[in-house]
Amino acid sequence: MNDEIITNDGISVRGDLQIIHKDKNNVIISKENHRNVVVDNGLLYIARSILNLENTSNLHVFIGTGGVVDDNRVEARPSDTALHTFYDDILATTEIIQINESGVLGTPTYVPFRVILRITCSLLITSYVKLSEAGIFTSSFNNSPTMITHKTFSEREYNELDTMEIQWDLSLGRFMK
Protein backbone atom coordinates (compact mmCIF):
# COMPACT_ATOMS: atom_id res chain seq x y z
CA MET A 1 0.00 0.00 0.00
CA ASN A 2 1.69 3.18 -1.16
CA ASP A 3 0.68 6.59 -0.04
CA GLU A 4 -0.22 9.62 -2.04
CA ILE A 5 -2.83 12.09 -1.01
CA ILE A 6 -4.32 14.41 -3.58
CA THR A 7 -6.43 17.36 -2.53
CA ASN A 8 -8.99 19.49 -4.29
CA ASP A 9 -6.44 22.29 -4.10
CA GLY A 10 -4.11 20.14 -6.18
CA ILE A 11 -2.02 19.54 -3.06
CA SER A 12 -0.62 16.06 -2.54
CA VAL A 13 1.81 14.38 -0.22
CA ARG A 14 3.92 11.34 -0.79
CA GLY A 15 6.87 9.60 0.76
CA ASP A 16 9.76 8.08 -1.19
CA LEU A 17 12.22 5.84 0.58
CA GLN A 18 15.58 4.88 -0.91
CA ILE A 19 17.69 2.20 0.77
CA ILE A 20 21.27 1.53 -0.23
CA HIS A 21 23.02 -1.59 1.06
CA LYS A 22 26.84 -1.45 1.02
CA ASP A 23 29.33 -4.07 2.09
CA LYS A 24 32.29 -3.44 4.39
CA ASN A 25 34.36 -2.28 1.38
CA ASN A 26 31.75 0.36 0.56
CA VAL A 27 30.62 -1.50 -2.55
CA ILE A 28 26.92 -1.12 -3.33
CA ILE A 29 25.13 -4.45 -3.05
CA SER A 30 21.64 -3.17 -3.70
CA LYS A 31 19.69 0.03 -4.15
CA GLU A 32 15.94 0.01 -3.87
CA ASN A 33 13.15 2.59 -3.90
CA HIS A 34 9.80 2.38 -2.15
CA ARG A 35 6.71 4.45 -1.45
CA ASN A 36 5.79 4.58 2.23
CA VAL A 37 2.56 4.78 4.19
CA VAL A 38 1.98 7.85 6.34
CA VAL A 39 0.14 6.32 9.28
CA ASP A 40 -2.90 7.79 11.03
CA ASN A 41 -0.87 8.84 14.05
CA GLY A 42 1.53 10.61 11.70
CA LEU A 43 -1.33 12.63 10.24
CA LEU A 44 -2.53 13.50 13.71
CA TYR A 45 0.98 14.51 14.77
CA ILE A 46 1.29 16.88 11.80
CA ALA A 47 -2.14 18.35 12.52
CA ARG A 48 -1.28 18.93 16.18
CA SER A 49 2.19 20.29 15.36
CA ILE A 50 0.88 23.28 13.44
CA LEU A 51 -1.15 24.20 16.53
CA ASN A 52 1.92 23.81 18.74
CA LEU A 53 0.33 20.88 20.59
CA GLU A 54 3.36 18.61 20.14
CA ASN A 55 6.92 18.94 21.33
CA THR A 56 8.84 18.53 18.11
CA SER A 57 12.37 17.21 18.24
CA ASN A 58 14.87 15.36 16.12
CA LEU A 59 13.36 12.73 13.87
CA HIS A 60 14.59 9.16 14.13
CA VAL A 61 14.50 6.28 11.66
CA PHE A 62 13.78 2.86 13.12
CA ILE A 63 14.58 -0.29 11.22
CA GLY A 64 13.19 -3.72 11.92
CA THR A 65 13.04 -7.37 11.07
CA GLY A 66 9.29 -7.97 11.11
CA GLY A 67 8.36 -6.87 7.60
CA VAL A 68 8.40 -10.46 6.34
CA VAL A 69 6.81 -13.40 8.13
CA ASP A 70 7.00 -16.94 6.73
CA ASP A 71 8.34 -15.54 3.46
CA ASN A 72 5.33 -13.24 3.12
CA ARG A 73 5.64 -9.49 3.33
CA VAL A 74 3.42 -7.90 5.96
CA GLU A 75 2.02 -4.69 4.48
CA ALA A 76 2.34 -1.49 6.43
CA ARG A 77 -1.10 -0.14 7.31
CA PRO A 78 -2.44 3.32 8.20
CA SER A 79 -3.34 2.04 11.67
CA ASP A 80 0.24 0.95 12.48
CA THR A 81 1.84 2.61 15.50
CA ALA A 82 5.13 0.70 15.67
CA LEU A 83 7.41 -1.51 13.65
CA HIS A 84 6.39 -5.16 13.64
CA THR A 85 9.77 -6.11 15.16
CA PHE A 86 12.15 -3.36 16.23
CA TYR A 87 15.86 -3.82 15.52
CA ASP A 88 17.62 -0.45 15.82
CA ASP A 89 17.07 3.29 16.13
CA ILE A 90 19.05 5.90 14.15
CA LEU A 91 19.08 9.66 14.72
CA ALA A 92 18.33 11.22 11.34
CA THR A 93 19.58 14.35 9.65
CA THR A 94 16.81 16.52 8.25
CA GLU A 95 16.60 19.34 5.75
CA ILE A 96 13.81 21.23 4.02
CA ILE A 97 14.16 21.64 0.27
CA GLN A 98 11.87 24.12 -1.49
CA ILE A 99 11.36 23.73 -5.21
CA ASN A 100 9.65 26.32 -7.36
CA GLU A 101 9.27 24.22 -10.47
CA SER A 102 9.21 25.86 -13.85
CA GLY A 103 6.17 25.79 -16.04
CA VAL A 104 2.48 26.24 -15.49
CA LEU A 105 -0.46 23.90 -15.57
CA GLY A 106 -4.02 24.50 -16.65
CA THR A 107 -6.24 27.55 -16.74
CA PRO A 108 -6.15 29.72 -14.72
CA THR A 109 -2.41 29.56 -14.35
CA TYR A 110 -1.12 27.30 -11.58
CA VAL A 111 2.55 27.36 -10.66
CA PRO A 112 3.82 24.05 -9.32
CA PHE A 113 5.42 24.21 -5.92
CA ARG A 114 7.01 21.50 -3.86
CA VAL A 115 8.49 21.15 -0.39
CA ILE A 116 10.61 18.14 0.46
CA LEU A 117 11.44 17.08 3.99
CA ARG A 118 14.58 15.00 3.37
CA ILE A 119 15.51 12.59 6.13
CA THR A 120 18.82 10.79 5.85
CA CYS A 121 20.70 8.37 8.07
CA SER A 122 23.17 5.53 7.98
CA LEU A 123 23.54 2.40 10.11
CA LEU A 124 26.65 0.26 10.51
CA ILE A 125 25.59 -3.33 10.99
CA THR A 126 27.33 -5.06 13.90
CA SER A 127 26.15 -8.62 13.30
CA TYR A 128 24.32 -10.65 10.63
CA VAL A 129 20.65 -9.66 10.34
CA LYS A 130 17.75 -9.76 7.86
CA LEU A 131 16.13 -6.32 7.66
CA SER A 132 12.66 -5.83 6.19
CA GLU A 133 10.98 -2.68 7.54
CA ALA A 134 11.61 0.94 8.42
CA GLY A 135 9.71 3.86 9.89
CA ILE A 136 10.10 7.54 10.74
CA PHE A 137 9.51 8.38 14.40
CA THR A 138 9.34 11.60 16.36
CA SER A 139 11.96 10.66 18.92
CA SER A 140 14.21 7.85 20.09
CA PHE A 141 12.92 4.37 20.92
CA ASN A 142 13.12 4.90 24.68
CA ASN A 143 10.95 8.06 24.57
CA SER A 144 7.74 6.36 23.39
CA PRO A 145 7.75 8.25 20.09
CA THR A 146 4.98 8.63 17.53
CA MET A 147 5.35 6.79 14.23
CA ILE A 148 4.82 9.04 11.21
CA THR A 149 5.52 6.67 8.32
CA HIS A 150 6.03 2.93 7.88
CA LYS A 151 7.31 0.75 5.07
CA THR A 152 7.95 -2.96 4.79
CA PHE A 153 10.08 -4.49 2.05
CA SER A 154 11.64 -7.78 0.96
CA GLU A 155 14.20 -9.15 3.38
CA ARG A 156 17.78 -8.06 2.81
CA GLU A 157 20.63 -9.98 4.44
CA TYR A 158 23.20 -7.72 6.07
CA ASN A 159 26.55 -9.00 7.26
CA GLU A 160 28.77 -7.61 9.97
CA LEU A 161 30.24 -4.23 8.94
CA ASP A 162 27.76 -3.75 6.09
CA THR A 163 26.05 -0.37 5.93
CA MET A 164 22.41 0.58 5.42
CA GLU A 165 21.97 4.09 4.03
CA ILE A 166 18.51 5.61 3.99
CA GLN A 167 17.21 8.70 2.23
CA TRP A 168 13.56 9.33 2.96
CA ASP A 169 11.82 12.16 1.09
CA LEU A 170 8.42 13.35 2.23
CA SER A 171 7.14 15.58 -0.57
CA LEU A 172 4.32 18.04 -0.21
CA GLY A 173 3.38 19.93 -3.29
CA ARG A 174 0.94 21.50 -5.62
CA PHE A 175 0.49 19.81 -8.99
CA MET A 176 3.33 17.33 -8.45
CA LYS A 177 4.08 15.08 -11.40
Binding site: D9, I11, A47, R174
Partner: protein, 169 residues
Protein backbone atom coordinates in the same frame (compact mmCIF):
# COMPACT_ATOMS: atom_id res chain seq x y z
CA UNK B 1 -2.32 14.60 3.16
CA UNK B 2 -5.32 15.79 1.33
CA UNK B 3 -4.56 19.25 2.59
CA UNK B 4 -7.41 21.57 1.78
CA UNK B 5 -9.58 23.93 3.74
CA UNK B 6 -12.96 25.60 3.93
CA UNK B 7 -14.07 28.75 5.66
CA UNK B 8 -17.67 29.22 6.80
CA UNK B 9 -18.49 32.86 7.44
CA UNK B 10 -21.57 34.21 9.18
CA UNK B 11 -22.90 37.66 9.96
CA UNK B 12 -24.79 37.80 13.25
CA UNK B 13 -26.86 40.74 14.41
CA UNK B 14 -28.19 40.58 17.98
CA UNK B 15 -28.14 36.74 18.07
CA UNK B 16 -29.80 36.51 14.67
CA UNK B 17 -27.78 34.89 11.88
CA UNK B 18 -28.48 37.00 8.83
CA UNK B 19 -26.02 35.37 6.47
CA UNK B 20 -23.86 32.22 6.25
CA UNK B 21 -21.68 31.00 3.40
CA UNK B 22 -18.82 28.53 2.90
CA UNK B 23 -15.86 28.79 0.56
CA UNK B 24 -12.76 26.77 -0.14
CA UNK B 25 -9.64 28.60 0.97
CA UNK B 26 -6.24 28.93 -0.68
CA UNK B 27 -3.38 27.28 1.19
CA UNK B 28 -0.26 29.32 0.54
CA UNK B 29 3.26 28.14 -0.23
CA UNK B 30 4.25 29.22 3.27
CA UNK B 31 1.41 27.09 4.58
CA UNK B 32 2.80 24.05 2.82
CA UNK B 33 6.29 24.82 4.13
CA UNK B 34 4.91 25.11 7.64
CA UNK B 35 3.37 21.65 7.57
CA UNK B 36 6.82 20.08 7.31
CA UNK B 37 8.74 22.73 9.23
CA UNK B 38 6.43 22.14 12.18
CA UNK B 39 7.88 18.62 12.47
CA UNK B 40 11.50 19.64 12.86
CA UNK B 41 11.63 23.24 14.02
CA UNK B 42 12.99 24.40 17.35
CA UNK B 43 10.57 27.33 17.18
CA UNK B 44 7.10 25.81 17.16
CA UNK B 45 4.28 27.20 15.07
CA UNK B 46 0.88 27.99 16.41
CA UNK B 47 -1.50 28.85 13.61
CA UNK B 48 -4.36 30.27 15.62
CA UNK B 49 -4.44 33.96 14.69
CA UNK B 50 -7.23 34.95 12.31
CA UNK B 51 -6.89 38.31 10.59
CA UNK B 52 -9.71 40.02 8.74
CA UNK B 53 -9.28 42.80 6.21
CA UNK B 54 -10.97 45.16 3.80
CA UNK B 55 -8.78 44.88 0.71
CA UNK B 56 -10.20 41.72 -0.86
CA UNK B 57 -11.85 43.33 -3.87
CA UNK B 58 -10.94 45.66 -6.71
CA UNK B 59 -12.56 49.09 -7.10
CA UNK B 60 -15.15 47.59 -9.46
CA UNK B 61 -16.10 45.06 -6.78
CA UNK B 62 -14.47 42.04 -8.38
CA UNK B 63 -12.81 39.81 -5.80
CA UNK B 64 -9.03 39.52 -5.94
CA UNK B 65 -7.61 36.07 -6.69
CA UNK B 66 -5.39 34.96 -3.83
CA UNK B 67 -1.92 33.97 -5.07
CA UNK B 68 -0.01 31.06 -3.59
CA UNK B 69 3.05 33.17 -2.73
CA UNK B 70 1.17 35.77 -0.67
CA UNK B 71 1.97 36.20 3.03
CA UNK B 72 -0.39 38.92 4.23
CA UNK B 73 -3.83 40.42 3.79
CA UNK B 74 -4.25 43.27 1.29
CA UNK B 75 -5.62 45.66 3.93
CA UNK B 76 -5.49 44.45 7.54
CA UNK B 77 -8.35 45.56 9.77
CA UNK B 78 -8.47 43.40 12.90
CA UNK B 79 -7.46 40.03 14.34
CA UNK B 80 -8.51 37.50 16.95
CA UNK B 81 -7.17 34.32 18.52
CA UNK B 82 -9.18 31.32 17.39
CA UNK B 83 -10.35 28.43 19.49
CA UNK B 84 -8.79 25.33 17.93
CA UNK B 85 -9.33 21.60 17.93
CA UNK B 86 -8.16 18.50 16.07
CA UNK B 87 -10.90 16.02 15.28
CA UNK B 88 -10.65 12.51 13.83
CA UNK B 89 -12.85 12.02 10.81
CA UNK B 90 -13.37 9.04 8.50
CA UNK B 91 -10.20 9.24 6.43
CA UNK B 92 -7.98 11.61 8.36
CA UNK B 93 -8.10 14.63 10.64
CA UNK B 94 -9.81 18.00 10.66
CA UNK B 95 -8.20 21.02 12.31
CA UNK B 96 -10.91 23.48 13.32
CA UNK B 97 -10.55 27.17 14.10
CA UNK B 98 -13.42 29.20 15.53
CA UNK B 99 -13.71 32.89 16.26
CA UNK B 100 -16.30 35.64 16.60
CA UNK B 101 -15.15 39.18 15.87
CA UNK B 102 -17.29 42.27 16.49
CA UNK B 103 -17.11 44.75 13.60
CA UNK B 104 -18.94 48.01 12.81
CA UNK B 105 -21.79 47.59 10.33
CA UNK B 106 -20.14 50.03 7.92
CA UNK B 107 -16.76 48.27 7.65
CA UNK B 108 -16.71 46.07 4.56
CA UNK B 109 -14.71 42.99 5.64
CA UNK B 110 -13.92 40.95 2.53
CA UNK B 111 -10.73 39.00 3.18
CA UNK B 112 -9.51 36.62 5.83
CA UNK B 113 -6.23 34.86 6.66
CA UNK B 114 -4.84 32.33 9.11
CA UNK B 115 -1.50 33.23 10.74
CA UNK B 116 1.10 31.86 13.16
CA UNK B 117 1.75 35.10 15.09
CA UNK B 118 -0.06 38.32 16.00
CA UNK B 119 -0.14 41.01 13.31
CA UNK B 120 2.35 43.24 15.13
CA UNK B 121 5.04 40.58 15.54
CA UNK B 122 7.91 39.65 13.27
CA UNK B 123 8.08 36.34 11.44
CA UNK B 124 4.40 36.27 10.63
CA UNK B 125 3.49 33.46 8.25
CA UNK B 126 0.15 33.08 6.52
CA UNK B 127 -1.09 29.50 6.22
CA UNK B 128 -4.23 30.16 4.19
CA UNK B 129 -6.33 33.01 2.89
CA UNK B 130 -9.59 33.78 1.12
CA UNK B 131 -11.47 36.74 -0.30
CA UNK B 132 -15.25 37.00 -0.34
CA UNK B 133 -18.15 39.36 -0.91
CA UNK B 134 -17.85 41.99 1.84
CA UNK B 135 -19.98 42.20 4.95
CA UNK B 136 -21.48 45.58 3.97
CA UNK B 137 -22.18 44.30 0.46
CA UNK B 138 -23.91 41.23 1.94
CA UNK B 139 -26.11 43.29 4.22
CA UNK B 140 -27.06 45.62 1.37
CA UNK B 141 -27.77 42.69 -0.94
CA UNK B 142 -30.11 41.22 1.66
CA UNK B 143 -31.74 44.64 2.14
CA UNK B 144 -31.29 44.01 5.85
CA UNK B 145 -31.38 46.85 8.36
CA UNK B 146 -28.92 46.18 11.21
CA UNK B 147 -30.27 46.77 14.70
CA UNK B 148 -27.14 48.27 16.26
CA UNK B 149 -23.85 49.82 15.22
CA UNK B 150 -21.92 46.52 15.41
CA UNK B 151 -22.40 43.03 14.07
CA UNK B 152 -20.61 39.78 14.88
CA UNK B 153 -18.47 38.25 12.15
CA UNK B 154 -18.29 34.52 12.91
CA UNK B 155 -15.57 32.37 11.39
CA UNK B 156 -15.40 28.59 11.25
CA UNK B 157 -12.27 27.51 9.45
CA UNK B 158 -11.52 23.86 8.77
CA UNK B 159 -8.25 22.45 7.43
CA UNK B 160 -8.37 18.79 6.37
CA UNK B 161 -5.50 16.31 6.32
CA UNK B 162 -7.05 13.35 4.60
CA UNK B 163 -6.29 10.01 3.07
CA UNK B 164 -7.82 9.09 -0.26
CA UNK B 165 -10.91 6.90 -0.18
CA UNK B 166 -8.83 3.97 -1.37
CA UNK B 167 -6.86 4.10 1.85
CA UNK B 168 -3.81 5.60 0.25
CA UNK B 169 -2.24 8.53 1.95
Amino acid sequence: MLCHGNVTLSIIDKDKVIFTDSKANTITNNGLLSLFNSLITDTPFSFKYIQIGTGGSLENGVLKNVQFDENSLYAYYKESIATTSVIKINNGYKISFYSEIPIPVDVNVNEIGLFNNPYTEDNVMMFAKQTFLGTVDRILKREYEPIGENIIFRIKWEIFLLREESGKL
